[in-house]
């Protein structure tokens, strides 16, 4: 059984102009110890999806449909207290900005110890020892001294490592990391990614890694989901997505990267830009930018065409599949 299963998740934001559907028909599952990447452009709905999994959609938004199952149990059936325990213990989230997690007026030690006291009912001494150990495990030098420091006394990379240490305190089974290294330099990004990779492998932690960096997805994840305008347009094993993407959008995204073109040559650009939620075109949301567009794309939202380990929402792919069979 997958550790987490998401079925037809939908989130809406009521607006003056009517309700905006930020994400729709989001379904996927993840196994224990698996590393799943979610990629897409800014506004595609990656963060909304992540928050919805934790049932933490910010007002005025709300979950308007779908189901989230953790080890087969529907999260909607949990009491607020059970939900809080679940968020603290089984699943945890790492944000782009470490200060979303860290309290600027408390030392790192105080924050870690409080977390262990509430979620694990530990005694202070014991909690402190575990906190030091977790800081050491994320390669914070001299953790006994660092634990007494305030967040602003640490560099950006160290702060993010502290956030990971905090995330690990309760031995979660799933980590959702939303652009955890976007604000950091590449050398620090590489360190943090290696750290996450090692954790997943050693402790069988499932990782949902949200990023717009396909290089990171390629190096860290085993499976990937591509989102466009609130929908999953393609899902499959990371290697096959990178090497033989099927959806024209995924293909376009990968081919637009500088490393896919000889230095100095014109890059393969996708024309236009992703629509805002207010202006999502009818039919396939990608159709105005798509080189394979046909009439049906302009009117009908494509269903998923399924392959052995992947699926693609695209009329053009569907037609090719039918004719090749």
């Amino acid at each position: 059984m997958p550790i987490l299963e998401v079925n037809n998740l939908e989130v809406r934001f009521p607006m003056r102009e009517g309700e905006l559907i930020a994400i729709r028909d989001i379904s996927f599952s993840i196994d224990r110890g698996e590393r799943l990447g979610i990629v897409g452009e800014s506004g595609a709905g990656k963060s909304v999806a992540a928050f919805a999994i934790l049932r933490l959609v910010g007002r005025p938004g709300y979950i308007s449909g779908g189901q989230i199952l953790f080890e087969g149990n529907d999260l909607a059936s949990l009491s607020p207290e059970q939900l809080r325990q679940f968020r603290g213990n089984q699943i945890t989230m790492i944000f782009q900005d470490p200060m979303m997690t860290l309290n600027p007026v408390l030392t790192i030690g105080t924050q870690m110890i409080e977390c262990l006291q509430t979620h694990k009912g530990m005694r202070r001494r014991e909690a402190r020892e575990l906190a030091v150990e977790k800081l050491r495990s994320v390669a914070i030098p001299s953790p006994e001294a660092r634990i007494n420091q305030y967040p602003h006394e640490l560099s950006g990379g160290m702060r993010q490592r502290v956030v990971i240490a905090i995330a690990l305190l309760t031995d979660p089974e799933i980590i959702i990391a939303d652009e955890p290294t976007t604000a950091l330099d590449v050398t620090i990004q590489a360190e943090i990614m290696e750290l996450l990779l090692e954790l997943c492998e050693k402790h069988q932690v499932a990782l949902i890694l949200i990023t717009h960096d396909l290089g990171v997805v390629s190096e860290i994840t085993q499976r990937a989901i591509v989102m466009y305008a609130g929908r999953i347009v393609e899902e499959g094993p990371t290697r096959s997505i990178i090497e033989q993407a099927r959806h024209p959008y995924t293909q376009g995204l990968i081919n637009a990267l500088p490393e896919r073109t000889r230095p100095g040559q014109r890059l393969n650009q996708i024309p236009g830009s992703m629509p805002t939620l207010m202006q999502i075109p009818p039919g396939c949301a990608f159709h105005p930018r798509c080189e394979h567009v046909t009439d049906v794309c302009r009117t009908q939202v494509p269903d998923y065409t399924r392959f052995d380990h992947s699926r693609v929402a695209c009329h053009w792919v569907a037609v090719q599949e039918q004719t090749s069979v």
């Binding site: 330099d185 050398t187 190096e219 500088p258 490393e259 014109r266």
Partner: protein, 344 residues
């Protein structure tokens, strides 16, 4: 070979032995310290640029890379006259320009335009696209006829893909990529020779980055532009740059042709940086981890600026700061270890 005949070509822009320090604005009381029984005023400063010399030749696309805070934007701002250097000079077309009074700087400001990372902040929200594009033309060509302004603006709009239908709309009505296109058009309306671009695509989505990068490359061809291009994205550098300067803590540690730098990086910092780029293909060599912590530009390390994080630092590195030395490949590297053949 690094620009094999570069030593003979005329330089368009020269940065000579540049230093820039920002005084830290702490209160007077905090600056006072007792030293040997006497009260002294201790003024600290951020040493953002620490001895940078760079020659830029016509047609170059010189990329400056390095981690956050290493001084990339400061260089851009000193070169374009937005900041005054603490010492050193900027020479444009054989004329020293950094110490000129603002009025005499004007012609050079026209010939050297800047594009910023944030197209939201650099466009005036109260001006329409047409006004935004016409303003610099009028400013730099006092007394120019209305017809000529219109003609110039329309030519640039067509060449960079700014839709004529956008003319009467305001910046907030556009996406990030469209706004950056407008900023580029704005820079081009005054026929500059040099474009200083500070992270012009970092705030944009991948699919839009390719559009804007293509635009900058086309403009380079069509208008024989020279670029000083600042970025932290090494895959963009590899694609766009003719030469690369790698900066660390306000100084250049390696300067080379793009192909040479990516093919045979020599400075230990360059090697670590390149090893950290996430790639689509899984054949990247193992990530080289740096040791130690990033030093602060308030208290620069003694000797080589990189020695506190370098895996090869020895006593000489801790005492003596290395100069950029030219290697057989044409690359210039500031490293005692490379010079002594201690480092591959």
């Amino acid at each position: 070979m690094e620009n094999s005949n570069s030593d003979h070509k005329a330089k368009l822009l020269e940065i000579r032995d540049l230093y820039k320090a920002f005084p830290l604005s702490s209160g007077l009381l905090e600056q006072l310290q007792f030293k040997k029984g006497r009260l002294v005023r201790n003024r600290e400063s951020v040493k953002a640029i620490n001895g940078v010399s760079l020659d830029i030749y016509p047609g170059d696309a010189l990329c400056v890379v390095g981690e956050s805070g290493c001084g990339k934007s400061t260089i851009a701002r000193v070169v374009t006259g937005l900041l005054r250097p603490t010492s050193g000079s900027i020479v444009f077309d054989n004329e020293r320009i950094d110490h000129l009074p603002p009025k005499q700087q004007l012609p050079y400001r026209r010939r050297m335009q800047m594009i910023f990372q944030n197209p939201y902040a650099s466009l005036n929200p109260r001006m329409t696209v047409r006004q935004t594009l016409e303003e610099p033309v009028r400013f730099h060509n006092p007394g120019i006829a209305n017809g000529a302004v219109k003609e110039k603006v329309e030519e640039v709009m067509a060449s960079v893909g700014v839709d004529p239908g956008w003319s009467n709309r305001f910046p907030h009505e556009f996406s990030g990529g469209q706004r950056q296109r407008i900023s580029i058009a704005r820079a081009l309306t005054v026929d500059p020779e040099v474009i200083v671009a500070d992270e012009p695509i970092s705030a944009l989505d991948v699919s839009i980055q390719a559009q804007v990068l293509n635009l900058l490359m086309e403009a380079r061809e069509e208008r024989s532009l020279t670029y000083l291009f600042i970025t932290h994205d090494l895959s963009v550098v590899e694609h766009f740059g003719s030469r690369v300067a790698v900066m660390y803590l306000g100084a250049i540690c390696e300067l080379a042709d793009t192909a040479t730098l990516f093919g045979t990086p020599r400075h230990p910092y360059t090697q670590a940086l390149l090893s950290a780029i996430p790639r689509l293909k899984l054949d990247r060599p193992a990530h080289i981890k740096l040791k130690g912590e990033i030093p602060t530009p308030i208290d620069l390390p003694k000797g080589c600026l990189f020695q506190t994080r370098c895996l090869y630092a020895d006593e000489r590195c801790r005492q003596e700061r290395p100069d950029l030395k030219k290697l057989n490949s044409g690359a210039r590297v500031a490293c005692h270890g490379v010079e002594e053949n201690r480092i591959e």
